[in-house]
Amino acid sequence: MLSNIGSILVFFILSLSLLIIYYSYVETQTTRTTIKKNIYNLSLFQVTFTILSFFTLILGFIFSDFSIINVYENSHTTKPLFYKIAGTWGNHEGSLLLWINILVVFSYLFLIFNHKHEKNFRLYTLIFQNFLILGFVIFLLFNSNPFSKIYPEPLEGLGLNPILQDPALAIHPPLLYIGFVGCSIYFSAAIASLLSEYSGKQFALSIKSWVQISWVFQTLGITIGSIWAYYELGWGGFWFWDPVENASLLPWFAITALMHSIMVLEKRNTLYEWVIILCLVTFILSVTGTFLVRSGILNSVHTFANDPSRGLFILIFLSLMIFTSILIFFKKHKKEDYNFNSNSKETFILANNWFMVFFLATVLIGTLYPIFLDVLTNEKVSVGPPFYNIVIIPLVIPFLLLMAIGPQFNWINSKKEKLYKTLYVFFGACLINLFLFYFFENYGLYSNLILITAIFLILHSIFDAKKSINNKKKFIFPRIISHLGFGLLVFFIGINHQYSVEVDFNLKVGEIKKFNNYEIFFKNIKVQQNKNYKSVIGSFKITDLEKENINYLNPEIRIYTNPETLTYEAAIKSKVNSDLYLTMSNLPRSDFYNIKFQNKPFMIWIWISAIMIALGGFVQLIIKKNEE
């Protein structure tokens, strides 16, 4: 029943896309200056049906309708309601439907919110967005239909991978999808802008908010994913340079570059060509990332049950997108001359872009190189943290410096005297670092430079914030928040990296282990039966002998029944200044448990800083809304 409704709705979405493309094209040929009502209506229908189809699938999961293969494969009656719902997008087919939802919703919102802009520009955007929708709906219908039926109806489902049953992971994919798929709208807008020759400042204004929205969501999505890895994977790390994590970083670098250069287009009416390239590249990289993850040519924790035909479809689609955009770009773009003063804001924004391109290229090479080598020479390599640390860390130092200095400059031309203040701030940063260096143990040259530059950026941002409060310049707040967030992020990662304690030992119930200034007492163990899993919970008393405080931690070993899986749940005590992290795993045929204990300073601040970066973009959207 639900599966039929779902399939019909998807078919409607497909037909509506075709109609919208047709009517919009006809409309571009007329001389009217406003868009006819019927296009608005078709879009409204399209968005309604799309959302309904997604709700239909959610209902299928809530009521455990196992006649739908997708529900059968990814759900189970004993699963808590929250995870039943989250299961909707926890699999390939369902997430593709979510993907289409976002394409359609953005398409509709762009149409109704941009009524001030030129008619043909809006219509072409709508046409290209609907080509994208069409492509993905065809993919959904012919290859990955979440509404496919199974007969006879099974009595029970197979269950969702327990490692995915986590609140952070329930919201991680929707956030990332809004971020990545949201880029589609300015991909379409960029092509529309080339075709309708609607360029310059007006174009920048039309896409600016959309860039910011998708940037905020991408930043949050990546952060939440990292938090999940920290809590769930049980290794105590939060970023692994895993190919799939990298795939999510690639569009983020492009979009961050875009967010900066679009300001130049808005204020100085230049860099149009470059902004267009970034608009195109951001979405192309999002789709490339999807291809890498879904086709299964990368192996990682994110691997969906894979199927080469999926990969082939996305690849064909990707090729079409790339070739169309390159062809249109070459046909329509006009050569621009830039002449920027070296002491102007735009020069520094361009510098930001160069750094972003460099980071992007590094991560791209690191991610694709193993695939290339494997295909061309059959040799297998894996590119891990050593590569990224060697290539990226040295560049972070000048990057942080420029992040603090750049915003001090005015558009077009600035006076020099401002830089003296910056020098004082820099000395301040060196002094603070010296203080840290003296009171804690010493650390290497790179760590020193990174910490100095991070502190420099933090101090500078704080001074900027103070100054802007005095001058009542609220429009620079978003920038200050994001830059401060980045400075803090690098600072806390640096400190965390330097002063983490990690020990690993075996312990029996009732035993005590002493090391450094900690004492760990393994009090007891109890078994608890939960709805869809059984857990073995250890209780530990951790005494910090130096500070004389006591913490109790209860790590778990969970035995899930559907599908049968063991997961190790870390016990984490987050405090303002550090996280205590404890995992336990059983040793077969022995009374011993393997215990891994970590003390990770300022963990929570890493998350707060990352969220602060996203918050900057969010504040910008609010300020803009209030101004209108």
Partner: protein, 173 residues
Amino acid sequence: MKNNFKKFFIFSFVIFFLSIFTLALKKDNNYSTKNLIGNQISSFQLPSLRNSSFITDKELKQNQFTLINFFASWCAPCRIEHKYLVRLNDQNKNIKILGVNFKDKKNNALNFLNDLGDPYSFVAKDPDGKASILFGIYGIPESIIINKELEIIKKIVGPIDQKDYEEILRLIK
């Protein structure tokens, strides 16, 4: 002219990328164990975990069979498989086990061996995981078995279990 060259360059670049992707799709499972089997391992030199000595491929030629096991103290499945390695070493004379300690800290690794037993005739260290790449390792535990000619005859991904253990015994008979 210059412009045409740019276009040509960009197009070839894109086509190159896309064709690699297409080829990569056709390759089933990048890390399947079978395509490693039959290959000879390349020459290597690994530093010891315990002291400043080294082990090279030449020394392995003296063993009838060698099992190279990649392990770490932080890896829970490694603990599970360890008893099979200990048994293999105790009960068989014609196979030697070379341990490669993967992305680990020295003290933790030594404690691991103290607690669970040391089946290795040599323990090498690979603190940043670079050397293990040469053996086609992408996660641990993993083990490869080579013969006298340094040819890989079996690769085991994941912890060794009873079934793998019995198969190893058959192989080295």
